[in-house]
Amino acid sequence: MSAPRPPVLESVGVAKEFCRPGQAPFLAVTDLNLTVADVERRGEFVCIVGPSGCGKSTLLQLIAGFDTHLPPSRGELRFYGKPVTAPSADRGMLFQQYSCYPHLSVLDNIAFGLRLHAKALKLSGSEIVEGAMAWLKRVKLAEGDAGKYPHELSGGMRQRVALARCLALKPRCLLMDEPFSALDEPTRLEMQDLIVDLWSQIDATVLLVSHSIAEAVYLGDRVWIMGAAPGTIVAEFTNVPLPDPEVPAMVAQSGPRFAEHVDEVSKAFFAVLQTPREELVPIHADGSGMNKPAVGAT
């Protein structure tokens, strides 16, 4: 082993309070103590579930470094050892909606990020088009779709375009805010297959916010459960079995073992829902909390 690499993400006591003139200050997230290690040759896949309005998106936007959220009101947020001060191409972000620019064709959408950094990356126009075309194929879109506009595409195809646009910049961390929540079930499963497939190819850490426990358990190797606002992570499941890229999501999610794992996380989730906010203990605050060591250790 070489020298230990700095963790991808490190959050020490981060809290974020929003102050709007004329309104009471709103504490969105608090006591976020987390570390996402840089696993050799592949990142970690962390899934975050929690009741709606618990600050999952706030957490992702803090990590993304949007200036509406920075700086954190308390604590420090570090990405590869450096404090997060601004958005960066290193951290791609995928949203649930409005993911494709309506005025750009599929190919131009994918090439958007590359064009932003064409000078820095020393890319010529034709190289950008080639790169975008390659990503178009990697997200399993047809070459014939390259010239289409987003409004001509289905929801699933739009998310593929958005994903390709994020990944074209080779981010070291991919932040996904309920990326499949607006999709119908078969499309969702298809997209999960695609994510599993792509994740085995790219060397990136993924943070995925989901409202589906099954999705979180299926995709993640770590699942965090957030409590109600002010949001904080109150339970963690590590070593969740990673999906096998060879097995389709639909098959993998119908087995009894999988159901067992979902069950375990669901129970913890319901327990969190039923616990009053004041009694929830953030994990890693002092090494205690509802920290579960592992799920379904094999």
Partner: protein
């Protein structure tokens, strides 16, 4: 009754067999299929029998497919909400008011001028109006006047556009610039356009400068708030996506805000061109000398000479030219912005971003420090 086996297999699709005790499968069964135990249809009606009851849900739906039950629409026969009608019928309906108006007009203006219900100085008969056409096209020079007015309108419109679009984009993009001019913009949109004609004459006398200046002011006052609103309407998530890819402020404005808002800004321009075209008459008040001519002048002269048919014909010509301008703009819009989704009738419809969902990020929250 439905056989037990079939129910289990049906549920099997929804409820995964589980090893653990799951807390909800029984409730799930009940909530997903609220009426599994409902007494089944006593006997499915024979195919030839008419069943007055609405088709029942579940098992009965597939029975008797050979017989199509009559459609019980809640919509009345004649006026249906958002009914699809063919282009032919569309045209027929569009022509009805014209036919009715013409019939009314013919009836009211029939007979000798002295014996009519309405004096020809108020409403000339259709024949009298048509007889005025050669005079209007010939000595009164309708077409050159229309062209002259059109050039004035376009001049004012371009001047207003060149000023209002960049300023509006800057105001919509940067809150400080928006605040700087916001209050003035609000005041400006309540400016009574017609009332500034005397002012413009005082400033610029009656030449071309006055016409173009008047139209520029009028158009600007309408256009500026429209541009600001369209820039503000661009969903914040597009900006976040661009920021997340490391875009600079300038790149976000140039590559995201402006192009996404552009179809709607263009729509605003189209609206303002129409408004300018209807206001031109107000500016063309000079009867002779510098800055004479134009459709407004034509109407003014006809009024003095008591030629009602000329006034009516000129008004019709103004409306036709206006409609033509509008159609041209719509075509240009399709040409410039092929990504904009269109409604059923070919009008530029709402682009996809208008479909708001509650999950969308609206306005950026302002981050503050914990006290």
């Amino acid at each position: 009754m439905r056989p037990a086996g079939s129910r289990r297999s049906l549920l099997g699709l929804f409820v995964r067999p589980s090893v653990h005790e799951r807390p909800t499968p029984v409730e799930l069964e009940v909530t997903q299929h609220p009426e599994p135990e409902e007494p089944p249809e006593p006997e499915a009606p024979a195919a030839h029998e008419f069943d007055p009851r609405p088709p029942a849900h579940g098992a009965a739906a597939g029975v008797g497919t050979a017989h199509c039950p009559p459609v019980h629409s809640r919509q009345p026969l004649v006026f249906r909400v958002r009914e699809h009608i063919s282009p032919g019928w569309r045209l027929v309906f569009a022509l009805v008011p014209f036919v009715v108006a013409l019939a009314w007009w013919l009836w009211f203006t029939a007979g000798e001028p002295e014996a009519r219900h309405i004096s020809p100085t108020v409403l000339p008969s259709p024949a009298e109006v048509v007889s005025g056409v050669p005079k209007l096209l010939g000595p009164q020079q309708l077409l050159p006047n229309v062209l002259l007015s059109l050039i004035r309108v376009l001049g004012g419109f371009l001047l207003a556009g060149v000023l209002a679009v960049p300023l509006g984009i800057a105001m919509g993009s940067f809150s400080k610039i928006g605040s700087l001019f916001g209050l003035i913009t609000t005041f400006l949109s309540y400016l009574p356009i017609a009332a500034i004609v005397p002012l413009t004459i005082a400033w610029w006398h009656t030449g071309e400068k006055q016409k173009v200046g008047f139209l520029a002011i009028g158009t600007f006052a309408y256009l500026l708030p429209l541009v600001v609103r369209q820039i503000n309407a661009v969903d914040h998530q597009y900006l976040l996506s661009a920021y997340a890819q490391g875009a600079s402020v300038w790149q976000v404005v140039r590559r995201v805000l402006i192009p996404i808002a552009m179809p709607d800004i263009f729509n605003g321009l189209r609206l303002c061109l129409g408004i300018g075209w209807t206001y031109i008459v107000l500016a063309e008040v000079v009867k002779e000398g510098e800055g004479v001519g134009g459709v407004g002048n034509l109407i003014l002269v006809a009024q003095r000479m008591n030629q009602m048919e000329t006034i009516y014909l000129t008004l019709v010509a103004i409306m036709i030219v206006g409609a033509f301008l509008d159609r041209t703009c719509v075509m240009l819009q399709r040409w410039f912005f092929p990504w904009v989704q269109r409604g059923d009738n070919g009008e530029a419809g709402a682009p996809p971003r208008r479909k708001r969902k509650s999950t969308a990020v609206r306005k950026p929250l302002r981050g503050g420090e914990v006290a």
